[in-house]
């Protein structure tokens, strides 16, 4: 069961978790990750909003590909990946992922893997609008290093 979606309105992480758990079929372990838009830039300036430009088809396709790869690689019985696009205010949930598996190690790894890939490979173009200016963002070196952990 793979549920990959784009959201144009704030994501309610608790409602997502409830919906995800309602569909489980005997898995003993559920790991979820919630990413929340940060109130400050790396430099410390107040962020007014994040703008996530996206592609009408390829963005969702990239999320589906990551979710499907996580399910297969970690034998996760259920996977969810929900991502905002458009304008996101600080404090709003920007991404929710969940993985359910028989054992907790697989559930942790599937969620961790999805986040590392979403942070580098998902088809978004992210702009940070802060009080000190507007910046288009690329994956950080830390993001690339996390992503590299999963290379075969």
């Amino acid at each position: 069961m793979i549920d990959a979606r784009l959201a144009d309105a704030p994501i309610d992480a608790a409602a997502e978790l409830a919906g995800f758990m309602a569909k489980l079929a005997g898995e003993g372990a559920v790991v979820s990750f919630v990413g929340i838009a940060r109130p400050r830039t790396r430099g410390g300036a107040r962020v007014e909003r994040i703008f996530l430009d996206h592609h009408p088809r390829l963005t969702l396709r990239s999320i589906e590909e990551i979710a499907t790869a996580a399910a297969a690689r970690f034998q996760a019985g259920a996977i969810a990946a929900v991502h905002r696009f458009g304008a996101v205010r600080p404090g709003e949930t920007i991404v929710f992922v969940a993985a359910a598996a028989r054992h907790r190690r697989a559930a942790f790894e599937a969620a961790d893997y999805m986040m590392d890939r979403l942070k580098t490979d998902a088809v978004f173009w992210k702009r940070e609008d802060a009080v000190d200016g507007v910046r288009w963002i690329e994956p950080t070196d830390a993001d690339r290093a996390e992503r590299a952990r999963w290379s075969e």
């Binding site: 430009d53 991404v95 979403l118 088809v123 173009w125 702009r127 288009w136 994956p139």
Partner: protein, 81 residues
């Protein structure tokens, strides 16, 4: 024909423009040169190989043929989510 831009390029040029169809046999690489002349402020990014070209939802190389009936899209490096 339709050309679309995303991310920083979309902000600079606009999401979608309509241009005169390029001459038959035009490649994606030649289209970049043509667009750079139209948008000198974005010339560097249009020429950069880190800006990928995409036709029919598939990334294509510089030698790909431009068909005026199929929009070409240009993607700066993705940021991830």
């Amino acid at each position: 024909m339709e050309i679309r831009f995303f991310g920083r390029l979309g902000e600079r040029i606009g999401r979608e423009i309509e241009i005169e169809p390029p001459p038959p046999g035009c490649t994606v690489g030649e289209l970049r040169v043509l667009l750079a002349a139209l948008y000198p402020d974005a010339a560097e990014e249009l020429a950069s190989m880190s800006t990928r070209a995409c036709i029919d939802d598939t990334i294509v190389g510089e030698e790909a043929a431009v068909d005026p009936a199929r929009a070409v899209e240009f993607f700066p490096p993705v940021s991830g989510g």
